[in-house]
Amino acid sequence: MAETPIDTPTARPSRLRAFWASDFMYAFCHAPVAMVSFAVVVILVLSALLAPLIAPYDPFNPASLNLMNGFTPPGEANAFTGDTFFLGTDDQGRDIFSTILYGMRISLFVGFAAVGLAMALGVLLGLVAGYLGGWIETLIMRIADIQLTFPSILVAMLIFGIAKGVTPAEYRDQMAIWVLILAIGLSEWVQFARVVRGTTMVEKNKEYVQAARLIGRRPGAIMLRHILPNVLSPVLVIATITLALAIIAEATLSFLGVGAPPTKPSLGTLIRIGQEFIFSGEWWILLFPALTLLALALSINLLGDWLRDALNPRLR
């Protein structure tokens, strides 16, 4: 049977149709949990992206704030100004709904960027370790083992602390978000590297890699163009689960006061602020950011769980 080359322009639309008709989509459409959690994730990500359009107020613009609006309960009219807020306001009169939208933006940005960093680093080091072997492999995997001895949240805290010490005091607040991405990204690469290394070691002995080597492709090209596409499905699963971990890690660090600064609050910072008011009865300042974080983490986790089973050939 003659194979049609995949990269011709005519083959492109059929690839998309092939994806819709695939087992993967069939499994997805028959898993209500996966569909619901995917919908929740999409809604949350979209509302975070479109925050400037959806949010009724700009919580970072001091001019739009009215201190008189502080501590307005959700859905009730403020006693002084008569304004109503869907989810109430915090101590400074900021609309909770708007701060959550903007906070989710920062949480998701840090989460995605950190996973991107961890994935790039882990996949690259895993490919190199698995394909080249030798002392490079020993070195990389030894570092991975040592890092794995410690929980990643501790590693992230430490990197954050060191980076904070290195940056001059006046830039610390501006740099905090980037330091956070660096800290979480560097603390989560090990899983990627281990899995990619394992798969690469299996793949590199297969015939297509031997063939690519015989026609004289360079090792870098073989790793990136030939092996990488074949190790991507476990990477996708780990990336999803790591995203939930990264979002929780970011929230934890920010909650502990070693993450996003109060001027750019993420969900964790909002929960930190809200915690101060549970004794005085202003429960809504804490509850709504916490529920948002929980919905985000839970639905990504469930999606990752389902993805792991769906992409596992042994379970089909």
């Binding site: 929980p151 805290m157 010490g165 929960i271 983490a297």
Partner: protein
């Protein structure tokens, strides 16, 4: 077996040396120690003299070795923030963390194994399914949120338990314990549950999976065919064989309990080493950070080593293999 143990000890020492290097690099390169010790009014001679006094003009390796020597004797210098020896501060705070970790570890172990056995034996029961669903939410719930929820229910709404601190403590020869006073025991409850819950769900899920696996084995079916009572099969035959992985995970989780104690201690303002570490990060107190890092790595590496050795004690098959390999 001897060669295996020697190799593991060698690896542990290597890990400690690397962590020591990180801690040393923090001291040496994060912030200039000279800047920290001399005030604004300083001359070049002062700087040179202090540099020589501190040994900062010597080669890197010599400095690293000296640092390790000092660290091994528990000397990490003075805290930038409190101006007291770091070792003293750590020792003062350590009992609080260890008591918290101990209680929540025991809680996680007992609760996790009991619930794990229950959900495995009554796999199709309503209660077992409920427990499994709740545990899934529990895994997604960040530790600090669990703490806040508990504070809200038991401190704010019901007012039964304190929401922060250790209560009254009794000094027992340098070890401050909260076990002996009522307020101390009360203050321990919420933090211990917060810290232990995540590990408990982990252990529970592990015991359940292992137990289900073992219950499917032929020797269990055979035991059933012999007419041995269900209780004896479950607890004497099945449970024993699920314990090896449980020991590993529990041992490794002991390390994370100490690390996650940082979060719990911050939520409850528990005066342990974790809270000290978070404050050190906030104020860039490098000596405290480095000392905490060294202390916790010694604990982690020690725990990992003990877990590996426990394998031999628990699983006779490994012992025979080891002997066969050595002879």
């Amino acid at each position: 077996m001897v060669s295996f143990i020697l190799r593991r000890i060698f690896q542990s020492v290597l890990v400690l040396l690397v962590v020591g290097l990180v801690a040393f690099a923090m001291f040496r390169f994060v912030g200039d120690p000279i800047d920290n010790m001399l005030g604004q009014e300083r001359t070049m001679e002062d700087i040179e003299r202090l540099r020589a006094d501190l040994g900062l003009d010597q080669p890197f390796v010599v400095q690293y070795w000296k640092f390790l020597e000092q660290a091994a004797q528990g000397n990490f210098g003075l805290s930038y923030r409190q101006g007291r020896p770091v070792a003293d501060i750590l020792l003062e705070r350590l009992p609080a963390t260890l008591e918290l970790a101990l209680v929540s570890g025991i809680l996680a172990l007992i609760g996790g194994i009991t619930l794990g056995i229950f959900t495995a034996i009554r796999r199709r029961g309503f209660a077992a399914n409920m427990i499994m669903t709740v545990s899934l939410i529990g895994v997604s719930l960040p530790t600090f949120l669990i703490g806040i929820v508990l504070i809200y229910i038991f401190s704010v709404e019901l007012g039964w338990l304190p929401s922060f601190g250790r209560g009254e403590v009794v000094e027992l020869g340098g070890w401050s314990t909260g076990f002996l006073t009522e307020s101390g025991r009360k203050a321990l409850i919420l933090p211990a549950i917060t810290l232990g819950l995540y590990q408990m769900t982990l252990i529970m899920r592990l015991v359940r999976t292992e137990m289900l696996e073992v219950l499917r084995m032929d020797y269990i079916r055979f035991a059933r065919a012999r007419g041995i009572r269900e209780r004896a099969i479950n607890f004497r035959h099945a449970l024993k064989n699920t314990l090896v992985p449980v020991i590993t995970i529990t041992g490794l989780q002991l390390g994370s309990i100490i690390a996650f104690a940082i979060i719990t201690e911050t939520v409850f303002q528990w005066p342990g080493v974790g809270l000290l570490f978070i404050n050190a990060i906030q104020f860039v107190d490098i000596p405290v950070m480095a000392a905490y890092l060294m202390m916790i790595s010694v604990m982690f590496v020690g725990i990992n080593l003990i877990v590996d050795l426990l394998y031999f004690a628990v699983d006779p098959r490994l012992r025979d293999e080891g002997r066969g390999g050595a002879s």
